[in-house]
């Protein structure tokens, strides 16, 4: 008996009891569809997290911040704390060859109320002012879309120039003018703490790939007057996604000005002495080789211990913890998703076993007849097994066809979630799982059919 004939007879069985078969298949359909859907949502989230990791400078970026809390054995030296200063920057530039682009940053945030960014009667909320060097463009993974970055000379001369993020533009100028054109406020003047600053450049708008697509579509559909996105509305509810959204929104709300300008013109707390002693908010740099992270950190630590006279009043922050969080979150979601889909498939498989067993007791006579006219035990075994596999695989295929619709439905029902991405692997896995479920579920009934004694089976009513 060849395979095609067996498969055809499997389909005939399904057709003969189509309602029962549909109910049986439903379990497998649910299992496969939920597996593929789950994988799509997890993949969507994974992509978002990975993009945001790259957006915040990648694994190569390390940051050093001041730490007021000294280790126990240095507690008595708390008076000596000076924080991170430009001295450290130069020391690292000269003495730590494993790192590059060492960049000082002094930050001010508008919600701490020591920063006010205004233009006419408009002002911004949640703005991040960074006084820094031109190198910070690379280290923060910024990209200038219009205009230019301020130069080293402007930094040296403490010029009132700034580079703004798109969210700052949106607050002070609006995103589109009355003709629907994007506003580019280069050479306009804004006021930072009531001092005029000339805009020399604007950063590009940072957003996830998926959101960029959505925005372009929205622009096409609803015309340019539509405000595409409001980053502050916090579209993402769970902590990891929110963290990655903060990466995007804070980059968009950034104003970059020369470090010198900030220190000499905006800094009320800075009283006297050398600029070299001004304590920095943070110091950020990149390492040449991520695999040498530990060594690089040790080198930086050695240099800083020297400039800080042995005081450990600084701490490192690497992106590694973020990366670990991402890996952990993805792992968790995958595991729970697989677990749920696995339960669905298990239930589907049990449904198949159940139906095949009851169909065999219905078909005892048929099995007897087939054996009496020459079917071997193996023939009966493969017939029942194939029927079960055909049932499960048909369910699997329907499940695959259904999953894009399910994904769309879920995504539109719950817009809070990250945009799902359907992957070929997950479809392949779902399909193979349905085939495996079918063969495992068919095993017991098939053995039962093969073992049936033809005389008993023929006598059976």
């Amino acid at each position: 008996m060849n395979l095609l004939t067996i498969i055809l007879s499997g389909f005939r069985e399904i057709k003969a009891h189509w309602f029962r078969s549909a109910l049986t298949m439903f379990g497998v359909i649910c299992g496969v569809a939920s597996l593929v859907t789950m994988a799509a949502f997890v993949k969507g989230k994974e992509n978002l997290l990975r993009e945001s990791l790259a957006q915040s400078g990648g694994l190569e970026r390390i940051t050093i911040e001041s730490e007021d809390d000294l280790p126990d054995y240095q507690k008595h030296l708390e008076d000596e704390i000076r924080g991170i200063t430009l001295k450290d920057v130069y020391a690292l530039k000269n003495n730590a060859p494993l790192v590059y682009n060492v960049t000082p940053i002094i930050q001010k945030r508008s919600f701490r109320s020591d920063l006010r960014v205004t233009r006419k009667e408009k002002s911004t909320r949640f703005t991040l002012l960074q006084g820094t060097w031109p190198e910070s463009l690379d280290i923060m993974d910024h990209e200038i879309e219009h205009g230019r970055m301020f130069s080293e000379i402007e930094d040296h001369l403490a010029k009132n120039v700034c580079v703004i993020g798109t969210e700052v533009r949106n607050s002070l100028f609006g995103e589109y003018d009355e003709n629907g054109e994007t506003i580019v406020p280069i050479d306009e003047t804004i006021f930072i703490n009531y001092k005029p600053f000339k805009i020399v450049g604007m950063l590009k708008e940072y957003m996830t790939e998926a959101d960029r697509k959505k925005k372009e579509e929205a622009k096409k559909n609803k015309g340019a007057t539509q405000r595409g996105f409001d980053w502050r509305s916090m579209r993402y509810k769970d902590s990891n996604s929110r963290r990655s959204m903060i990466v995007y929104s804070s980059k968009n709300s950034t104003i970059l000005i020369p470090l010198n300008t900030l220190v000499s013109k905006l800094d009320s707390s800075f009283e006297s002495g050398s600029k070299m002693d001004r304590s920095l908010s943070e110091l950020t740099m990149k390492i040449f080789d991520v695999s040498l992270l530990e060594k690089s950190l040790q080198q930086v630590r050695n240099v800083l211990l020297r400039t800080h006279n042995g005081l450990e009043d600084f701490e490192f922050e690497t992106q590694e913890s973020f990366a670990d969080d991402i890996t952990q979150a993805i792992y968790n979601e995958r595991t729970s998703g697989m677990f749920i889909a696995g339960i669905c498939l298990l239930v589907g498989g049990i449904g198949i076993i159940n139906i095949m067993l009851s169909s065999i007791s219905e078909r005892v006579r048929e099995i007897g007849i087939r054996k009496s006219i020459g079917a071997t035990n193996l023939d009966m075994f493969s017939q029942i097994l194939t029927e079960s596999v055909v049932l499960a695989v048909s369910g699997g295929i329907i499940g695959l066809i259904a999953s894009p619709f399910l994904i769309d439905a879920l995504a539109s029902y719950a817009p809070d979630t990250t945009p799902p991405i359907m992957t070929v692997e997950s479809m392949f896995i779902g399909f193979s799982f349905s085939a495996i479920t079918g063969s495992l579920a068919g095993l017991i009934p098939a053995i039962k059919a093969a073992k049936l004694d033809p005389i008993e089976a023929l006598r059976y009513d």
Partner: protein
Amino acid sequence: MPLLELRDIHKTYYLGGETIRALDGVTLDIDSGEFISIIGPSGSGKSTLMHIIGCLDSPTSGTINLDGVMIHNASARQLASIRNKKIGFVFQFFNLLPKLTVRQNVELPMIYSGFSSKERRERAMNALESVNMEDRSKHRPSQLSGGQQQRTAIARALVNNPKIIFADEPTGNLDSNTGERILQMFDKLHTEGKTVMLVTHDPEIAAVTPRRIEIRDGKIANEIDPKLSGQTPRFNIGTKN
């Protein structure tokens, strides 16, 4: 050499500690082209005998040689192949598969012997023609009368051109007219040279065959064989009294 050679066949069942001798030393030769009936009351062992000769069951002891193959110690796989190629069964309850059409039912044995679908169709139609069922080939068994169903079953038994055809109470589920026509069909097969074995409890039906073997308590109790005794068979279908 006879087509079928049974030597001292025993079949013993153990049911709840009790030993049942269904067959108790049956020795029998059947030649090619014979028309035989096995007769006996229910429980006599005639069905067991047919199952054993028909390769559905194995004897407890004794040897069987069917067309040169020792089937008493053949494997399940060999037995299936013998059932498929050398034996045709006709049952009391027709035993057609209700979901298949008449033609598909007749094709069924050939599916297990590996014919191409074109060949299967051709041979099935030929077999149906020989039982005058060719115009019903697309019907389902439920749409046929009992006689038509039994003729389909005969076509199915014939389709692989078997060495021997077993008919187990083939008229038991038919009215007497239809039953007679089925018996005539077996007689026709016999005159065409087929070996046919009827199994029945009814002496009237057994009377159509030249050779009759009566089984009682698992033993051959009586045998009428024209070759041995020169008796002429009483062949008078339709004159029951």
